[in-house]
């Protein structure tokens, strides 16, 4: 029973991480149709911002590093939108996707050239590393916080999308950008907001990823974002509720397999999961909540 509780906490926090990242991908995709392969590198950039702040400014107090991590990611996401993704706005989806892919390679190799291959340590709060004991179960603080922060972020996002003008404009833009512009909403502002939110969610994920890993390296963003992509595809690409459902489904599936698989074949975990996703897509090409792919034929 205790074991079960511990593992379900594991699954929830991992699922939360995937959900945060998948939501960021889905928001940007729904507003401007961009498949942001550079999303994972936001995490890397946030990690390096924390590392450099600590190393250069001598700001080693981990509490002060938290806002640095989050806001550097938000700013960088908005910077990328301005510099890299504006030229490809309105271009075919392939162009935007390959652009993001190229940006991702650029960021990774810039980090490689200027900071080096080896992981750099980032100070983390001791508070995050403590365990909470409930009855006979010990649960790491970072997992509780991650689950809670994910839940709060999702609730705030829902409120934002339903109650604020820009939020409603974003939801409308997901349906039809041209009409939103005809209503007098500036497309620039909607897209910038989408990137800011996507960056904020990635920034929150960065904090927890850094707390768990304790170090940053040039390629650390790839695996989380690949998982987030898979999560978004499971849920139905472009659907926000789908991204959340997919994220948690993936997190739970990973932890379950980790528990169930004997150690000899534990290394194959990701292969099993991705194969299962492939089978799911064969049966249900649109994912859980997505739109059915339209081949222009009678169904």
């Amino acid at each position: 029973m205790d074991y079960l509780l511990q593992q379900s906490m594991n699954a929830l926090s991992l699922g939360g991480e995937y959900a945060l990242l998948a939501l960021g991908l889905a928001i940007v995709f729904s507003v401007m149709g961009l498949v942001n392969f550079a999303h994972g590198d936001l995490i890397t950039v946030g990690g390096y911002a924390m590392f450099l702040t600590a190393a250069w400014l001598g700001l080693t107090n981990p509490v002060m590093l938290l806002p640095v991590g989050v806001f550097s990611v938000v700013l960088f996401a908005m910077f990328l939108e301005r510099v890299a993704f504006k030229p490809v706005r309105g271009a075919p989806p392939t162009t935007g996707m390959l652009m993001a892919f190229g940006i991702s390679i650029l960021i990774q190799n810039l980090a490689l050239i200027f900071v080096g291959t080896r992981p750099k340590a980032v100070p983390t709060m001791d508070f995050l590393m403590t365990n909470i004991t409930i009855g006979s179960v010990r649960i790491p603080m970072v997992q509780i916080l991650e689950t809670a922060v994910t839940a709060i972020a999702i609730i705030l996002l829902v409120v934002f999308l339903r109650r604020t003008t820009i939020g409603i404009a974003m939801r409308a833009a997901a349906r039809d950008v041209a009409t939103v512009r005809l209503m007098g909403v500036r497309a620039d502002r909607v897209v910038a907001a989408a990137f800011a939110i996507s960056g904020l969610l990635a920034g929150l994920a960065t904090i927890f990823i850094m707390a768990r890993r304790g170090a940053v390296d040039p390629f650390m963003g790839f695996t989380p974002v690949l998982k987030a992509f898979v999560a978004a595809v499971i849920g139905g690409f472009g659907s926000l509720p789908g991204a959340v459902i997919g994220g948690f489904a993936l997190g739970i599936a990973e932890i379950m397999l980790q528990v169930v698989l004997p150690s000899e074949i534990a290394g194959f975990r990701d292969a099993f999961i991705f194969t299962a996703v492939g089978v799911l897509l064969l049966v249900r090409p649109q994912g859980i909540l997505g739109q059915r792919p339209d081949f222009g034929e009678k169904s």
Partner: protein, 347 residues
């Protein structure tokens, strides 16, 4: 000339260029450059394989290198001498430790195996549109990598698989590359290729005039996997030592940059992109090592090659999203020139 004859003439010119370059390199170049040229040919086949699917269906696809890996490992496991396998693969499953077949037969088996796997993956691929399809191919690449790294009894895991007979000669590689070019051009300008390209521009319209999109996509997918398998087998038989890392992101980035720079809708473009990027990467490797240029010691810059590939993709997407040649083939360029000349004379 009909379109089809023109396509074959265009392909013939490309093949001729490659073969002449190959003969010159084989005759005069230093061993280092001969090896570089062989690598170029392997990459060229892979890029053309990529072009066959991506260029005609317009679905971005990252898993191609996975097929190369499957094929290369199949060749390695089947063709490596039993004496080497006794130490290298002591616990090979299915009695593969005692199997040793001729390299040519091994290539045939490897291609058949790759095609069988490609068919299963393809069934899922062709039912997807756009983004999920791309992510699915990326997931496929990760699956292949995870299996290669973890199935230690069969593949030696992350360690290098050595002792593969080095049987690939320049002649074989040239023949394979020429075959790939002709095959890709023949498909592109066939009725099927045209239909598939039409469907990539307007799915509904193509479907309305009776194009069987899923079937054609599957055909292009299988053809692409076939060329990838050829490239992988050639790679294994040329290098002699492979590891799972040989068939992962580095090679994916490299081949994608080649394809994108030249123009993914054109076979001629793929060849051109392959040439330009190969030269560029070689230059970057030189700069990366921190050479002395004009009595100036440059710093070592690890990561420059990757930076260069990323830059190529970003600049292409910003200034020329359809690549250097767009969707023009070499014979389209001539044809247009001839028309223009005729127009000038007439006026």
């Amino acid at each position: 000339m009909t379109v089809r004859k023109r396509a074959l003439a265009g392909a013939a010119v490309l093949v001729l260029c490659i073969v002449v370059a190959g003969l010159v390199v084989g005759e005069f170049a230093a061993p280092y450059y001969q090896r570089l040229f062989m690598t170029f040919l392997v990459n060229l086949i892979a890029v053309i394989g990529l072009q066959v699917f991506m260029g005609n269906s317009d679905i971005t696809y990252f898993g191609h290198v996975g097929f190369m890996g499957i094929s290369a490992y199949a060749v390695a496991i089947l063709a490596t001498p039993v004496a080497i396998k006794r130490t290298a693969l002591a616990n090979a499953p299915f009695g593969l430790g005692a199997v040793e077949i001729s390299p040519l037969l091994a290539v045939a088996v490897a291609i058949a195996l790759t095609l069988a796997i490609a068919f299963l993956v393809g069934l899922m691929m062709v039912r997807q549109t756009g983004v999920p399809a791309t992510i699915a191919t990326l997931a496929f690449l990760v699956i292949v990598h995870v299996v290669l790294v973890n199935w230690i009894d069969l593949t030696r895991g992350p360690r290098a698989f050595y002792g593969i007979p080095v049987k690939a000669t320049l002649g074989w590689a040239l023949a394979a590359a020429g075959f790939a070019i002709v095959l890709a051009r023949a498909f592109r300008d066939s009725k099927w290729g045209l239909q598939l390209r039409a469907s990539s521009e307007d799915l509904a319209a193509a479907s309305a005039v009776g194009v069987r999109i899923r079937k054609l996509r599957l055909a292009a997918w299988m053809l692409s996997a076939f060329l990838m398998a050829m490239a992988g087998a050639l790679f294994a038989l040329f290098i002699g030592t492979i590891s799972p890392g040989s068939f992962y992101f580095d090679l994916t980035f490299l081949t994608l940059a080649m394809l994108i720079l030249g123009g993914m809708h054109s076979v001629t473009g793929s060849v051109l992109g392959c040439i330009v990027v190969t030269v560029g990467v070689e230059l970057m490797r030189y700069l990366e090592s921190g050479p002395v240029v004009a009595s100036l010691k440059l710093p070592e810059m690890f990561g420059l090659t990757g930076f260069f590939l990323g830059l190529i993709i970003v600049l292409s997407m910003t200034f020329r999203p359809s690549g250097l040649l767009g969707s023009d083939e070499i014979d389209d360029l001539w044809h247009r020139r001839r028309l223009r000349k005729a127009g000038v004379e007439a006026s």
